[in-house]
């Protein structure tokens, strides 16, 4: 297909953000609303002050129209992030963050920053977390082997960043390697 290169090898960040909108989040509606019917499903009815669980895209839309307050997810608190940052710096593995943590945090901090306590600190911790994970990923990639590379708990955005470079690099390595394995006369039994 005649896609530009940035679309060929990986998702674009905007596409990932769109996918992340499907994640569920808890809101506190401020207005009473009947059941809302959408193609992807029906949500509601909303009776304040009862909490409701809706997809993120709906939550952000309601928030924009000042019809709800978003409850920040548990992993997006200062204490949790501080703990994750500590783990990230001490343990060799990646700490278990949600698969879409980058997009969700970006969207929430942008549209609903008053719903997140200490948003400035949260932002700072997120930035540190991302940078630590990035440097860990790069250190892991430096010792790569072209047969197997195991990295657990990476988020979709991070995978997407690495994907074009690495799929191409593995392909080239396999091309160089394929000839080498052809030179062996008998394959091992």
């Amino acid at each position: 297909m005649a896609l530009p290169r940035s679309h060929q090898a990986a998702y674009t960040p905007s596409e990932i953000e769109f996918l992340a909108g499907e994640e569920d989040i808890i809101i506190i509606p401020t207005h009473s609303m009947p059941k809302l019917q959408f193609i992807s499903g029906s949500f509601g009815p909303f009776r304040p002050p009862l909490k409701a669980k809706v997809p993120l895209w709906l939550a952000l839309m309601l928030k924009k129209h000042h019809m709800c307050n978003i409850l920040s997810p548990e992993w997006l608190s200062v204490d949790n992030l501080k703990k994750m940052l500590n783990d990230e710096e001490t343990v060799a593995e990646f700490s278990p963050l949600p698969f879409h943590y980058m997009e969700i945090s970006m969207m929430l901090l942008e549209s609903a920053s008053e719903d997140i306590p200490n948003s400035e600190q949260v932002r700072r911790y997120l930035k540190d977390l991302r940078e630590t994970r990035q440097s860990k990923a790069r250190a892991g990639l430096a010792v790569l082997d072209d047969r197997y590379l195991g990295m657990n708990n990476l988020s979709l955005m991070e995978i997407n960043e690495i994907r074009p470079f690495f799929s191409r690099a593995f392909l080239e390595m396999r091309k160089l390697n394929a000839e080498e394995s052809n030179n062996y006369s008998q394959p091992p039994a």
Partner: protein, 195 residues
Amino acid sequence: MNNDEYYDIDSILAEHSKIPCIFLHDIDASVNLSGDGNEIAANSRVELPFWMAKVLAQYRLPNGENLVTIELPRAYGTRVRNSLDASPTSIDFRQVSPYFYQFGTKLYDLIIDDQLPATLEKAFKARLKEIMNISLTGSTNVGQDFLQKLDETEKELFKAGQESTAELRKWRHRRRQQLKPVSLGHRISSQSSIS
């Protein structure tokens, strides 16, 4: 040979690299193999492009003799290999052979050389680390002189890595910039919510 390499531009360009051939017979001037209308004496060395050399090397005369013998090009000779072993990241592939890896893989079929695949692979891995560091960092000034030394395959890799990092950065900063007008005033904030 891989069929999807037939139309691949990089593969075609890689086959244009020259390779020295030793002719075992005299070639007439009218054949014009080297392109300048001279005749070629037996046992003389001529540098021919790979696509020509490959066909000539596989051609057998009616009496069963070979027409040419192929030599390993200078780009894959001992001097280059020694410097690859010593310091893979300092070799300037643009001068040695811009299609080092692709041409090297094509040589596998033609020349029996057990060391070549291992050498190529080792060099590739070593330089890959450096390329990854530079491309995924996102700063524009670092490592310019190393980038001059890459061959075409490595350049493709570098571009891929750089683009994905740039995309991510643009995505993040677009958001940051949208936040700025919101704090200035009610009228401007309604404009920014449309964009």
